[in-house]
């Protein structure tokens, strides 16, 4: 072997090639969590097909003591457990990398590569010898390879063992069987393979108090904390687990301790039209309500979004974005619903969008969305995506201020109506564009009004008078301006050195962008970055652009949708906003961003610059 084997400690990418439905997911997660227990950050990602059983699926674990949680690209070690994808998996390994495989069935030399280290273990043979049951053979094979990897990567066996004990607490038989399988793999590798190899995990203290959870679970939890009581939904990948999590957290936290009854209602609707209809009906009636969906669902809900916008009804929509258009790539990630949400529905509509960067913000922004929806009396979209939604990730621990009270917005009460306070449902009484509303049933003779999507006057009476229509539209515009300062502010990260170049990014691009900044800085390219967290854009966003010569807009879609919004809403000269677009369905990488920015600056000769360290587009 002429190529030297890769030698990296706490900084490598290992990929598992599995067959969907084979039970590999929990074993792979065990592997990732065992590394976290050793104090080393990991970023695991599932790459899975739109299928339940039988098709190839991959699980990628990036080990990064430096804490880079974005996808890196490349592969230092492949755990090739799927014969169907053998050739491409073999080809995906970086030169000098490692191949781990089940050596039960001999393979011809043509099935291997010269420039990698091959590590074979007869997993199937070992399982057949150990277990009678076919399903057990399959499941424990996965645990067995984790055991072997622990030996190969010089990991702490006790960390994985403890995880199994924690996971199956109270189920001693399961603990024993799993630890046994782990031990078999571990011992075999120690006896037959050159342990440890060049890739190693060494105990560190780089995880801190962070937790690991997926964004969809965090959205579901955020909805519980945000006070949602009604969820109408329709199953669609990759959003389904938002509602599953909401349901499970509701059972845990919202079951009345006295009588076991539910302080929530979840209805699986017949389609997305009905789910958003239920949300709007519940919001109109004073409950906090939400739905979770993805691109095709957003398309179906368009007419209702217009109604909710115009009739001014609170609603929260969690959009877990995926590859589009049409059915697109249902199990791949994108940020391609921005325009469809920002201007959803016919006519002049504008909607409030929030952009969570990780599971922590999936929690906090979903909770906040309910306050915003009621304060602004309008639909609010939480723009998550498959990458942060469906992958476990390290994030800051969730927090909640117990003194916080839900902001129910401008609700006119029984007492105010009784005292004779003037109630105009669509009347702007204090200039912020937000009118007062009443909840059905508030007062026997006052405050009732007729909600409609047609034009009405400030007192909710049907009107086809042009001035009434214009009054309403201008008020809605004022309301949208009010929203600018209510949505979460953008996060500015200044470069170490003064620069005229800025980068705007949002959502799941965040970890890759942070790393890209570091890659660029290492090569003498300094960029200020601004992470946009809400739409409408606050003045700080426009100021950031105004103060810089060139601003890159990094997005995971083909048509530069945030850039379009910036140009349109901020009347920005389009030439000033440079597109950095990644949209092949895989999560964006730091290498990609840094490479694009460096190339563009080079082309523009904006400043003397070098090339980034690793100019590899993934």
């Amino acid at each position: 072997m002429t190529t030297p084997a890769i030698q990296h400690t706490n900084d490598f990418v290992i990929k598992f090639a599995n067959v969907n439905g084979s039970g590999s997911a929990s074993a792979n997660e065990l592997f990732a969590r065992a590394i976290i227990r050793m104090g080393v950050p990991v970023a695991p990602r599932n790459i899975f097909p739109s299928n339940i059983q039988g098709l190839p699926t991959w699980y990628e674990v990036r080990v990064s003591e430096a804490g880079w949680l974005g996808a890196r690209g490349g592969c230092d070690m492949m755990v090739a457990m799927n014969p169907q994808t053998w050739d491409r998996d073999l080809a995906a390994i970086d030169r000098g990398g490692y191949l781990f495989y089940d050596s039960t069935k001999p393979l011809p030399p043509s099935k291997f590569r010269e420039d990698i280290t091959v590590l074979g273990i007869p997993l199937t043979a070992m399982c057949n010898a150990e277990y009678e049951d076919a399903r057990q053979r399959q499941l424990f094979k996965n645990i067995m390879y984790v055991g072997a990897l622990i030996a190969l990567l010089d990991m702490e066996f006790a960390a994985a063992e403890q995880l199994i004990v924690d996971r199956y607490r109270g189920k001693d038989q399961l603990i024993k069987a799993n630890v046994n399988a782990l031990r078999l793999g571990y011992d075999y590798a120690r006896q037959h393979l050159p342990c440890p190899i060049g890739l190693r995990v060494k105990r560190a203290d780089a995880v801190g108090d962070r937790i690991m959870i997926d964004g969809n679970s965090a959205c579901g939890l955020g909805a519980v904390f945000g006070g949602a009581t009604v969820a109408g939904w329709y199953p669609i990948t990759p959003s389904t687990s938002v509602i599953e999590a909401f349901s499970s957290y509701c059972r845990k936290f919202r079951t009345d301790p006295d009588n076991g009854r539910a302080r929530y209602a979840i209805v699986q609707a017949e389609d997305e039209l009905a789910s958003i209809g239920m949300v709007i009906g519940a919001g109109w009636n004073g409950a906090r309500a939400f739905t979770a969906t993805s691109g095709p669902g957003i398309s179906l809900m368009q007419e209702f979004f217009g109604l909710a916008y115009f009739a001014e009804i609170p609603a929260v929509i969690v959009d877990v974005q995926r590859g589009s258009p049409s059915t697109g790539m249902p199990t791949r990630t994108q940020q391609s619903d921005l325009l469809n949400c920002a201007y959803a529905s016919h006519g002049d509509t504008r909607h409030v969008l929030l952009f969570p960067q990780d599971a922590y913000e999936c929690f906090s922004l979903t909770a906040q969305a309910f306050d915003l929806a009621e304060r602004l009396q309008t639909p609010v979209f939480v723009m998550s995506d498959l990458d942060i939604g469906m992958n476990d990730q390290l994030c800051a621990p969730f927090d909640w201020d117990d003194s916080r009270r839900y902001d129910r917005g401008k609700l006119m009460t029984y007492d105010e109506l009784e005292a004779g306070k003037d109630f105009g449902r669509y009347l702007d009484v204090d200039g912020d564009g937000i009118p007062y509303r009443t909840i059905p049933g508030t007062h026997p003779t006052r405050g009732a009004y007729f909600t409609r999507g047609t034009t009405r006057n400030p007192y909710a009476k049907y009107s086809e008078v042009g001035t009434d229509y214009v009054y309403n539209m201008e008020r809605l515009r004022r309301k949208f301006n009010t929203a600018k300062d209510l949505v979460p502010a953008p996060i500015l990260t200044k470069a170490e050195q003064p620069t005229h170049v800025g980068v705007i990014y949002y959502g799941s691009t965040a970890p890759a962008m942070a790393e890209a900044s570091a890659l660029l800085a290492a090569d003498g390219i300094h960029v200020d970055t601004l992470r946009v967290r809400g739409f409408p854009f606050s003045d700080a966003v426009m100021q950031f652009i105004a103060e810089r010569d060139a601003v890159f807009v990094v997005e995971q879609n083909e048509s530069a949708q945030l850039r379009t919004l910036l140009v349109n809403e901020g009347e920005i000269d389009p030439k000033k906003l440079v597109r950095v677009l990644h949209y092949d369905g895989s999560p964006i990488t730091a290498r990609f961003i840094a490479g694009k920015i460096a190339d563009a600056l080079n082309d523009r000769k904006v400043s003397p610059i070098g090339q980034p360290q690793r100019k590899v587009a993934s």
């Binding site: 976290i36 108090d209 962070r210 937790i211 690991m212 939890l221 519980v224 904390f225 006070g227 009581t229 009604v230 109408g232 919202r254 009345d256 009854r261 539910a262 302080r263 929530y264 209602a265 209805v267 609707a269 017949e270 039209l273 009905a274 789910s275 958003i276 209809g277 239920m278 949300v279 709007i280 009906g281 519940a282 919001g283 109109w284 009636n285 004073g286 409950a287 309500a289 007419e303 209702f304 621990p397 969730f398 927090d399 909640w400 117990d402 009270r405 839900y406 009443t438 059905p440 049933g441 508030t442 026997p444 003779t445 009732a448 009004y449 007729f450 909600t451 409609r452 999507g453 049907y462």
Partner: protein
Amino acid sequence: MTYLAKPKLLAADAPRNALGYTRRDYEGAISTLCAGCGHDSISAAVVQACFDLDIEPHKVAKLSGIGCSSKTPDYFLGNSHGFNSVHGRMPSVLTGAALANRNLLYLGVSGDGDSASIGIGQFAHAMRRGVNMTYIVENNGVYGLTKGQFSATADKGSKSKKGVINSDNPIDLAALALQLGATYVARSFSGDKEQLVPLIKGALRHGGPAFIDVISPCVTFNNHSGSTKSYDYVREHNAAVNRIDVILPKAQIEASYPPGSLRRVVQHDGSILHLRKVGVDYDPSDRIGAMNHLQERQALGEIVTGLLYVDSSGQDMHTHLNTVEKPLNQLGDAYLCPGSKALEALNAMLR
């Protein structure tokens, strides 16, 4: 007529119900529908039913889709919140509203285009789901606001005003409601107030999905010879299976009927339905029988009216979801937010 404002003054001796309200307190804005429209009679029947039942107007939420019929909630119960939503989507909006507050009465008003054409999916699923509501379809077999196209309830062979013969098979919403699990199913005629008002009263006091298909002639586009939804045609082909009276629990009046002619149904809320037999021997507790009867009579060209089916067991969506008694929209922060301690425990499990 639409351009005549209602007099503001009320006769001093106007009758008042147990709550002290007059009929006027249950009325709404002036109708903008055509003079003689069947829908206005249905609005009047709703007013009468709510007045008779001593319903507090603000405890009713009235919801509709889009179309002539869906405009009508503006014309009754002016002290109730109303919601004129999206074409064909009233059932989902109503479902959401009902989820938010189980203590209001939900009145859904729709039309044959709204429910049988664009909204048939939502109609079907709201019935399946057991939403506690009164769902009235004002059925005229025609699109009024867009000037006279056939709707999905138009009978095959019926003639449009322009002389076109309908070649498509009709959808029978009452038959569908029976099949899909509505627990109170009726059909009536806007021109028969004596029959319609008690049917609406029974539905409002019913605990579960109550559906009333009201044939309501469109005087402008579907009241001609050759139409099967005209005043004349419906009067000639009306085959009532019963007449009902709704007795509130507190009322002790026992009317006398000939022996064997009366069926007594006690609803979940204690209200009593007295069903008087008309002609045929009809059992409104037999769902399969009701479906058969509808089909048999329809084949003979008859329009079966009356209370077709009632199941007073009182199961509804909230029962299925096991929700708390207190309306969800009235639960305070302390009942909803688990708080920081719960979150810390959760964080610990995620490390």
